[in-house]
Symmetry: C2
Subunit: 353 residues, 2 copies
């Protein structure tokens, strides 16, 4: 979906790296995150300032190989040292389908997946993952366990104005972001964490050292260039050297896609979609309803396995059980290329019982 | 050390990546390693063919965020499913100092560090790490436990002709390599594994999916370009468009450095270095003694803590206890920039008791 925008921008985000450049492990030995390129740190702080979606003052910025690595680093950093048993990791269902397998992959003695946060009632320390807007269903989320011994990880990958109104700068202890969802550059594998507590930051950095000894410099430099273009285009308001601003483009495409999808769903009478309350976005300075990166589609009537039902109509989607809920739900990406998205909507609208 | 070479090569290894290129998570959906760029796969196979240091036929090539990630992926893939206890991970001392902390970092229920392979005597399955040439001491290594229930990981990061004679193509079940030690590009964080068994390969790929959802495409493309230059320059023999071949350059620099180091060590009479038997290198077609990437220096006489002793003379080195042996030993990098290396040798040669 974003490819088309970056083609319009042209050579302004081209990176050129020569064979003898950026060879060392180190990026900035004066920073506790010694593998973070200073240019990237600067552009991360700037884009949050421009968009107003997160506080960066008084935070450590930690770069990761995608936000996946930072999620694992956060679990490592927040687990109690030498606890009698692994700390419980919970998230309100429906939750991101990879959380359970990522958490339990190595059968760690430090942390353990404990399922839906809403039914979590164990005493003692726990880690709650708060994804807002939520993957898969797009809802704005807050923590639900709310006990004194909990620590929170806020996964804010989708807290950008093309997906949801930006109501205020997020101001949590540990927040995760990624270029794959903000600018569309999944192949770079670049994410970042904003972390208040220095000791937590230090342990996250230690994890990344032990896991991959830092993060690709080439992709960090490229991510810096792309984020710079996002900020530059936003600061120019309407157009930027003949190109629409990044968030105006992406907001517009998402709005069009959600309009097409809702029309198709309404015409079929077999499916339903979540309804979202409209809210004011301080960045775009308008009121709109969230238009998430995923459609959380429900099969109504007596269709119990929505994933199989859709597969029978040549639509690939991920069933609700992966997200900890009923198989009547599926998740469908709203970020595919135009052709694929249009084909999906067309196929969906022609399904009749 | 390698920077100077790549400057001479000039623009031939420059990468140019545009904003709209390589945005997807996927590189090649027809490959079981779906995040491996085909260009990189091709250049990995080619450089091994040109150098003759590893068999790639009938192997799966898996790319990782440095060989660190592939080491962890190998532990995950080789651990027995649902074993009654974590499998033991061993390596002959002196071993790479990060093996114990990387292995035990998450207190995995799948695998556990069990120390020096030479004193390992437990029954049942185990994983033995064979680093050859060895980090820290440069020796050619073979497995030492040799029991039927063992699986082996061969870390061949230093099996390149600037460090050691290439006697034959390595032909093991699971072999690890990295650009950081072969071409000097540590900042790319690109390593690769050559894996015979398909099921092991599949599990390693699964690990990388759960850990970082693939590997930076930007760095993969840059690594492909650099490896291509290494192969091109080698195939041209003496010189390549006015530039010395990569391995002739790096062999020559290592030979000079080892000569200077041995002179300094001999003049001081306080230290000793390992002696290596000369062997024939099929690639360079000459007989030479190994000239490792690290000097494994021993303090003689009554100096028990070599690391502290050297620190007193403004030389930073890593003490033997990190590698599972006596503090009379230290490891010093032989790959630093010319100025730093020359300063190290100068300081070393002026130490007298």
């Amino acid at each position: 979906m974003y490819e088309h925008y970056w083609q319009q921008v042209g050579e302004k985000t081209t990176v050129v790296i020569r064979g003898w450049q950026h060879m060392s492990y180190f990026s900035d030995v004066s920073n506790i995150c010694w593998f973070l390129e200073p240019e990237l740190a600067e552009e991360i702080a700037r884009v949050h300032r421009v968009v107003g979606n997160a506080v960066t003052e008084g935070r450590h910025i930690i770069v990761g190989t995608g936000s996946s690595q930072l999620f694992l680093a956060a679990l490592f950093a927040l687990s109690p040292r030498d606890g009698p048993e692994p700390v419980s990791v919970v998230s309100q269902a429906p939750f991101y389908s990879s959380y359970p397998s990522m958490t339990d992959c190595l059968k760690s003695g430090l942390y353990k997946w404990a399922g839906d946060a809403q039914s979590y009632s164990k005493e003692g320390p726990y880690i709650e993952l708060v994804t807002s807007p939520n993957n898969p269903d797009g809802n704005v989320r807050r923590s639900v366990v709310n006990r004194s011994e909990g620590t929170l990880v806020h996964d804010l990958a989708y807290y950008w104005p093309q997906y949801t109104p930006i109501s205020s700068p997020a101001d949590h202890e540990l927040m995760l972001f990624t270029v794959s969802k903000s600018t569309g550059h999944a192949g770079m594998r670049i994410g970042w964490a904003l972390v208040k507590d220095q000791e937590v930051a230090r342990r996250m950095i230690k994890f990344i050292e032990l896991n991959t000894i830092g993060v690709s410099k080439d992709s960090q430099l490229r991510a810096a260039k792309v984020l710079k273009a996002v900020s530059d285009s936003s600061e120019h308001g309407g157009t930027w050297e003949g190109v629409e601003s990044f968030f105006k483009f992406s907001y517009r495409v998402m709005a069009e896609r959600w309009k097409l999808l809702r029309e198709a769903v309404n015409s079929s009478r077999i499916f339903s979609l979540p309804e979202f309350p409209p809210a004011h976005c301080n960045f775009l300075n308008r009121v709109f309803e969230p238009q998430p990166a995923f459609a959380w589609l429900k099969c109504e009537r007596d269709i119990d396995d929505c994933e199989s039902f859709l597969r029978g109509h040549k639509i690939l989607a991920r069933g609700g059980k992966h997200f900890g809920v009923s198989p009547k739900y599926v998740r469908v990406s709203m970020l595919d290329r135009d052709n694929n998205f249009n084909l999906f909507v067309k196929r969906l609208s022609t399904i009749h019982l």
